[in-house]
Symmetry: C2
Amino acid sequence: MIPPPDVVPPGAAMEIHSEELAERLSGLLKANDTSGVLRQIESVVAADIAAATRHLEEDESVALLKILPEEFSADVLVEMGDDVREEILERLTPREIADAVEEMASDDAADVVAELEEDKATEVVDLLEEEDRAEITQLLLYPEESAGGIMQLEVVSVRQDRTAARAIEKIRLAFPDVREDFYYVYVTDHDGRLVGKIPLPRLILANPEQRIRDLMDEDVHPVPADLDQEEVAQIFQKYDLPSLPVVDRDRVLLGRITVDDIVDVIQEEAAEDYSRLAGTDEEEFQEESVYRKAAIRLPWLVTGLFGGVLSALVLSRFEHDLRAVIALTFFVPVIMAMGGNVAIQSSAVMVRGLATGEVTHRDATRRLLREVGVSVITGIVCAALIFFAAWLWWGDLRLGIVVGGAMLAVIFISTSVGAFVPLTLDRLRIDPALATGPFVTTSNDILGILIYLGFASWIYRVMA
Amino acid sequence: MIPPPDVVPPGAAMEIHSEELAERLSGLLKANDTSGVLRQIESVVAADIAAATRHLEEDESVALLKILPEEFSADVLVEMGDDVREEILERLTPREIADAVEEMASDDAADVVAELEEDKATEVVDLLEEEDRAEITQLLLYPEESAGGIMQLEVVSVRQDRTAARAIEKIRLAFPDVREDFYYVYVTDHDGRLVGKIPLPRLILANPEQRIRDLMDEDVHPVPADLDQEEVAQIFQKYDLPSLPVVDRDRVLLGRITVDDIVDVIQEEAAEDYSRLAGTDEEEFQEESVYRKAAIRLPWLVTGLFGGVLSALVLSRFEHDLRAVIALTFFVPVIMAMGGNVAIQSSAVMVRGLATGEVTHRDATRRLLREVGVSVITGIVCAALIFFAAWLWWGDLRLGIVVGGAMLAVIFISTSVGAFVPLTLDRLRIDPALATGPFVTTSNDILGILIYLGFASWIYRVMA
C-alpha cells in the first residue's frame, strides 16, 4: 500500500503519486483482488482516485467504480475530469448512474445528468427518488453558465426570530442531509426571504438565548439565479467570500454557490480567453487525440491561410511598384508583424479588463482614448527606429520615409481597431475574446499591407 | 444615502454603484461632513469603500481613511487595488500605518509592510506591539510567492486527546483573537505536529464527550511553507478545499492559507500567462498612465521590430531570387504568419498544461510527439491548400511546390519548436510563459523566411 505522503509533494510528485496509485489499482483489479482494492483506497480520498483514473483503462475505471462503496464512487465520479467521466458514464447502466447521482450534492448531480445523452438522462431521472428528481429537474432549467446553473440546493438557513440555541438545534436535526462544508447560516424572514447571514463560528460562540436577528450581518450579497457565472465570480472576488446565496426575484433563498465551484469558473474563463488569444479552443487543453487536436486548430489556421492568400493577392496588385523598388518587399513582414503585435496588445488589455470587470461601457471612451494615446507613443518610437534603419542601411531616404510613415499609421490604426473591436463585441453580447481570433488579426494584416504599399506608391510618385 | 442594492446587480451596475458611492463620499468630504460620511458607510462593507477609492482623489481617500473607525479603515486598505494602496500608503504616517496594520490578519499585515519603502517599513514594524512585530517579521522571511508568503498565522487548532466540549471551550476562549472565517479546526499531537482536521459543523454537532481523535479526518493535505503558490493552487483545486494548513519540515502547524487568497493567485497566474501571450505585462492591466502603459509594451515591440529588421536583411540577401521571381515575395507574409500561428498554438498548449499541472516532465516526450503529430496533419492540410492556390492562381507549378513545401516544413518545425521551448524553460526553472514572448516568435519568423527562400532558390535552380 502506498502511504499517504506526509507533506503534499510538489506538482510533479503529485502526478507520480497518481500514476503509482493507478498502477497498483490496475494490478489489483487484474488479479480480481477486491479486498486489496478496498485496503488500497483507505489511505486516499476520492480526488486521488479521480486523478488516478486518468491513467487507467476505461474497463478498469468502470470495474473500480463498481467495487467502491456507493458514496465514495459518487465522489470519484464528481472529481473526475469531464472528458474521462464522459467515457465512463457511457459504460454505466442508468441504474448505476442513478445510485451514484443520489449520493451527490444537487449541483454535481445535475451536472452529471446534463452530460448524459437525452434518452439515458430521462431514464436516470425516472429512477431517482421523488425529491432528488424534483431537485435535478429544477436545476436543469437554469442556463449552464448562470448562477442557477452552478448553485446547489443544499443550504442551511434559519428564521431571524429564532434564538441561537434553537438555530443550532435545527441544524443538528437537519444534519444527516446537510453536507459538512457550510460556512454561513443564512437567515430568512417568515416568507423565506433572505435577510442576513451568520458565520458559523459566531453562531456557536453566541449566548444561546440571543436572537438570530441580533447576531446576523445584513450584507449578504444575494445573486439572482439568472446572473452570468463570470459576474458571480467577480462578486466572490470583490467580497472574498466562501459562499454566496442565490435568490429568486422576490429574494426568496433558492440555494448557494460555493467558492470551489467559482475557482473552476475562473479557471474556465481564463482558459477560454487564453486559448482564443493563442488561436485554439480551451477544449484542446484536455484533448488527447492528435486528430481532434488538429481539427480544433485547423479552422484558425485555414482562416489565417485564407488571409495570407488575400495578402498575396494585394501584394501582387502592387507588383509594378515592388519590381521598381525591390527593397519595399523587405519591410512587408515587419509592417505586418508590428500591426499584429500592437492589435493583440490592445485587444488583450480590453478583453482582460472586460473579463475582470475593470473595463465597463461607462468608461469605454476614456479607455479607447488611452489606447490611442499609447499608440501615438509606441508608434513614434517604432517609426523613428525603423526610419533610421531603413534610411541608413539601405541608403534610401524615401524608403525610410515610407517605412517609418507606414509604421506610424499602422500602429495607430491597429492599436485603435484592437481596442475598439472587443468593446463592440461585448456591447453586442458576443464574447469579446473573439477579437483576438484569426478574423480580426487577418483583417489587420491586410489593412497593414494596403496602408504600407498605398503610401509607398504615393511617396515614390511624389518624390520621384 | 444609497440603499444597499437588494440583489447584487451585474458587473456594470456594480461599477456604477462604486462610482455613485465615490461621488457621495467626495461631496461629504468636501463639506467636511464627518458624521455624514459615517452614516453613509453604515450600509456598505469595506470592499465597497475600497472599490470606490478607485474613483476618488488621493487626498479624498486619505481623508476618508482617517475618518473611518480604525478596524474598518484597515479592512478598506486590505481590499484596495495594489496600485491605489501604494499611493495611499505614501501619504500615511508610520504611526497611522502601524495602527491599521495591527487590525489586519497577519498575511495582509505582512503584505502591506512588504509594499512600503525599506525605511518606512522598519519604522512601522518598530511601532508595532511585540506580538504583531514577531509575526510580521516571521512572515516576511518567506518568498512572496511561496505557501509561507501567502499564509496567515491565525489558525484554530486543538489537541487530539481533547473532547469535543473542551475543544469548543478552547475556541471560545481564543475567540476575541480569532477571525470568523475559519472552516476547519486543525488537530495536533502533543508536539504541535498536524495529525488531522475537523470541519466545524461536525465539531459542533458531535457528542460533547467524544474525543477529537475519533472525530477528525486524517486526510489533511498539509503544504510545506516553501511550496510555490502555483502548486498550492493546484492542490486547492484538486481537493476542492476552503483552506489548507501550512507546516514546517517536522510537520508542525505554522498557519493556513484560505481559498480567497488562492482565487487571487489563480487570477494572477492566469493574467501573467495571458499578458505574456499578448506581448505585454500583467502590470499593464491595472496601469492608468498612458506613458507607463507604452513603456511596458515597448520592449516587446522593439524586440519585434529588431526581428523585423533582421527579416528585412535576410530578405535582401535573396534579392536576386526575388527579382527573378517577384511572385515569391507575395507569399512571404503567409509563410511567416502561419509559422507564428502554429508556434503560438503549440506553446500555449504547453504553457497552460504546465501551469495547471496537466503536463509533467514525466510525459514530456509523449506530449512533444503529440505536437509533432498535430503539425504533420495541420501542415499537410495547409500545404495542400496553399499549393493549389499558388499553382492555379499564379499558374506556376514551381511556385506551388516552393510555397507548399515551405509551408509544410515551417509548420512542422515551428510547431515543434513552440512545444519544445516551454518544456525546456520549465526544466531550467524559468517561467515557460516566456516562450510565447517576442524573442521566440521573432526567431521563428526569421527561421520561416530562411526555410522558404532557401527552398525556393534550390527548387528554381533544380527545376530551372
